[in-house]
């Protein structure tokens, strides 16, 4: 057990924990951030995506030691922002969420993309989301929703 601290959705968290513990398990089991989903446990599906210092990580492959001192944002934190509202509204408009299991990870990745590249091309959107598997939508509505946001301009990224 080691003492490990990081910031979760703006608040400092201190844990005594095995440093190799998956960040995913820390978030879901210890900290009850159940919006972070486990779809595969091997970095293939992206359902466990979280923002670490502003970029998306697969929390299933992240030992908690690697986020010491870093700022982690999960969907629980992100959903209170106006950026979330913009993405969520576009997702709703296009029907980009069906079963919803991939959606929190998808939204965080959409944000990470738009923050760096507010006007992505369709190809750039498809590449940016290529680590987030969705089995319901065929990605059509998701890609369209993000392109629609990109049309609107830089807004607040």
């Amino acid at each position: 057990m080691e003492k490990i601290s990081f910031y979760l959705n703006g608040k400092q968290v201190k844990l005594a924990i095995d440093p190799s513990t998956r960040l995913l398990d820390v978030l879901r089991i210890r900290l009850h951030m159940t919006g972070v989903k486990e779809g595969c446990g091997e970095g293939e599906c992206g359902a466990c995506s979280v923002l670490v210092d502003g970029v998306c990580y697969n929390s299933c492959l992240t030992p908690v030691a690697n986020v010491m001192g870093k700022h982690i944002v999960t969907i629980e934190g992100f959903r209170t922002t106006k950026q979330y509202r913009i993405i969520a509204d576009a997702f709703a408009d296009f029907g980009a969420s069906q079963c919803g299991f991939c959606t929190p990870g998808m939204i965080l990745n959409a944000y990470a993309l738009l923050k760096n590249n507010p006007h992505p091309s369709e190809e750039e959107v498809r590449i940016a989301l290529s680590g987030n598997l969705c089995r319901c939508t065929g990605y059509n509505a998701i890609v369209k929703a993000i392109l629609e946001i990109a049309e609107k301009g830089d807004i607040v990224w």
Partner: protein, 697 residues
């Protein structure tokens, strides 16, 4: 803004996007014990001994000896045991459960637990038929005596895994002496019935409640019944709350897949028309039959797809092998035969030197004609309009001509198809007997109760909307909660594209009746039983008659490019038109269309799951490949109304329809690009290399 007709934001949209929706593994489960299945590691043999290590306090072992009443999972053909008893018939069959508070400890105990077997030689060949079906239409013998051309070909399709993003999961606890279950599921009453059957208990001792469900596609139609029967056996023994959540690799290796198939057609052509077909469809059912017979039925009924062939001789078999049982997956047998027949009919056209697409269009079925099983197409068929629209959307004719030139390395293909909505034949009236309850409280809020699970298709929203539209009240004045078997009557399983055509119709009828008796300010209740069209007659034993209450229709066009250096295919475009009767909510139907076609494209060229010595070789999502956003183009879909008399506002089904035509449209396109004939899917680069290097053009 997206442009959709008559669409509303889904009830569960915000909770799912914001991560607030609680899926089974997200539910509070303090004090629940983890359940770790112990599975067979041989494909076939007798269990000599099970050596359970000494278990620490608070840990338990549960196996066939603990069965309360009946060691069988209640699935259509109930031959699958809850726990392997004295013998195992496939690699991965559950022998027992290790249960306890600490997951790591359970793994350790699992490694210590030893099962000794007398191994037997496993059977993997498709020759041990346990279900045989046959029917004929017209008189094929006459055609065999008198035809101009004959062609025989065999087609194969592989396993397909559902890859719902949320793996199988279930929690169970005792509320007094009542078992309560929350799980990732499709059919709450299937689960309930499975528990009732294995325990032999009274139905009022089992309650099933649906939490958020992360996709299903057929994969959660029957398998959760197995999990529930296992956990119920355990809970009766140890009386503690239980939790079983599969990791992805467990889910890939040990849950049911789509049936691999081998279909052989002999086609007879006379005067430029396909006048007769002899067909045999073989499905690998795995070690236990379960629903395989019904899957075969659906495959056989779709044996000539959407084409009129007057003379047929059709047989089919479900073969039993020592492999993981196969079961429901979107399309339920019809994707296999529709793929095979679509390829076959184009191959015939090529062989007699006529244009494949013209040849197909000449054979499209029409209203009033007989179906493959001597039923009648009672309703209008608008396939020609669907074809025309899809061709216009995709600029088909120009591309078809251009890409047909040798060396273009590009191709475009079209499939036309149908899907029978609802349970086969008169099953809706004779087997399921759905009953729908609608109540209105003193505040005039209407409460809709169904057993339909919304695992992404949006049916919680759609069904509610049917009720509010029919009553002419705002949507907010109607509630439609996720099913709880204590509160709802059974409106049947969420399967077979029946939710809208059957349950939606019930919603509309119930709402009409409630409207008639509406008295403000008082509690009212209406129970609506399903009564199907009286012209539907079906003989289950002979597979003759009207196979479905209604049919939905579709056209897919897929465009691809081909890399002759790597034999890789890139999907460049996909266009679809559908007749789903009428879309209650267009955005939701388009969502089904996009997702169904994407899954079908994956089935056609990417998704490869192989069996070696009874085990799946693809054990992770790094090995079992499904499409990413980078693998798919923007898909375009148009709906054309064709109202169905027995559907809510004319609506039919759409869930499976959007899956069945994708693989053949894709493969037609690939055939054009490589100038070779395709006989199996997935048409992956390894297979395409063989074709390009050695195949027939």
């Amino acid at each position: 803004m997206a442009q959709f007709k008559n669409s509303t934001v889904k009830i569960d949209n915000e909770e799912k996007m914001s991560g607030k929706a609680l899926f089974t593994d997200d539910l509070p489960s303090e004090g629940f014990l983890w359940v770790r299945p112990l599975r067979s590691n041989i494909p076939c043999g007798r269990i000599r001994t099970i050596n359970v290590p000494k278990l620490p306090k608070g840990y338990y072992w549960v196996d066939a000896k603990d069965i309360v009443k009946e060691n069988v999972v209640n699935i259509i053909f109930s031959d699958w045991p809850v726990f392997a008893d004295r013998r195992v018939n496939y690699y991965g069959e559950t022998i027992g459960l290790l249960i306890g508070p600490d997951k790591a400890k359970l793994e350790e105990l699992g490694r210590l637990l030893q099962v000794n077997y007398d191994e037997e030689i496993p059977h993997f060949k498709l020759n041990n038929s346990k279900i045989h079906k046959s029917f004929t239409k017209g008189n094929l013998d006459e055609v065999i005596k008198n035809h101009d051309f004959m062609l025989e070909e065999t087609f194969e399709t592989g396993y397909q895994e559902q890859v719902y993003l949320e793996p199988q999961s279930m929690i169970m606890w005792l509320d007094g002496d009542k078992i309560t279950i929350k799980a990732s599921m499709q059919c709450p009453f299937y689960i309930k019935n499975a528990v009732v059957r294995t325990l032999g208990c009274s139905p009022d001792k089992v309650r099933v409640i649906q939490p958020a469900v992360g996709g299903a596609f057929g994969g959660k139609e029957h398998y959760p019944s197995m999990m529930a029967a296992q956990l119920a056996t355990a809970i009766m023994k140890i009386k503690k709350p239980l939790k079983m959540v599969f990791d992805r690799s467990e889910d890939l290796m040990y849950t049911t897949k789509r049936h691999p198939s081998r279909t052989t057609y002999t086609g007879y052509v006379k005067d430029g028309r396909l006048v007769g077909v002899k067909a045999h469809v073989g499905l690998n059912g795995g070690a236990y039959l379960g629903c395989s017979g019904v899957v075969l039925n659906r495959g056989l009924i779709a044996v000539v797809d959407s084409y009129d062939v007057p003379n047929l001789d059709v047989t089919g078999d479900v073969y039993v092998t020592n492999t993981m049982p196969t079961a429901a997956f979107r399309g339920f047998g019809s994707p296999q035969t529709i793929f095979a027949f679509e390829m076959f009919i184009e191959h015939i056209a090529k062989a007699i030197g006529v244009d494949p697409v013209e040849f197909k269009l000449k054979h499209l079925v029409k209203k009033g004609q007989t179906t493959a099983v001597n039923g009648k197409f009672h309703d209008d068929i608008i396939l020609p309009q669907l074809v025309e629209k899809a061709m216009e959307m995709s600029d088909f004719k120009r591309k078809y001509k251009e890409y047909s030139k040798p060396g273009s390395n590009r191709g475009i293909g079209i499939s036309t198809f149908l899907h029978g909505c609802g349970f086969t034949g008169s099953g809706e009236s004779t087997i399921i007997n759905a009953q729908l309850k609608l109540t209105k409280d003193e505040n005039d809020i209407v409460h809709l109760y169904t057993s339909q699970v919304d695992f992404g298709q949006g049916n919680r929203t759609t069904l509610k909307k049917i009720v509010s539209d029919t009553l002419g009240i705002p949507e907010e004045q109607v509630t439609h909660e996720a099913p709880d078997t204590d509160h709802t009557l059974s409106t049947g399983p969420t399967a077979a594209s029946r939710t809208i055509i059957i349950v939606g119709y019930l919603c509309e009828k119930a709402a009409k009746h409630l409207k008639e008796i509406w008295k403000p300010g008082v509690y009212q209740e209406w129970i609506e039983p399903y009564v199907g069209p009286d012209y539907i007659h079906w003989d289950e034993d002979t597979l003759q008659g009207d196979a479905y209450p209604g049919y939905a229709w579709g056209v897919n066009i897929v465009e691809i490019s081909f890399d002759p250096i790597t034999y890789q295919v890139k999907v460049e475009g996909a266009w679809s038109t559908y007749d789903v009767g009428h879309a209650i909510d267009e955005r939701i139907v388009i969502g089904q269309a996009d997702g169904g076609l994407a899954q079908a494209i994956g089935y056609g060229y990417l998704e490869n799951m192989e069996m070696a010595e009874g085990r799946f070789r693809q054990k992770t999502l790094a090995d079992y490949i499904i499409p990413t956003s980078a693998d798919l183009p923007m898909m375009e879909t148009e709906l054309i109304d064709n109202l169905f008399a027995y559907g809510a506002s004319g609506a039919k089904g759409c869930g499976e329809l959007t899956f069945v035509g994708g693989a053949p449209a894709l493969c037609h396109a690939i055939e054009m690009a490589i100038n070779r004939k395709i006989y199996k899917i997935p048409a992956n680069p390894e297979y395409l290399m063989e074709l390009v290097e050695n195949g027939k053009d």
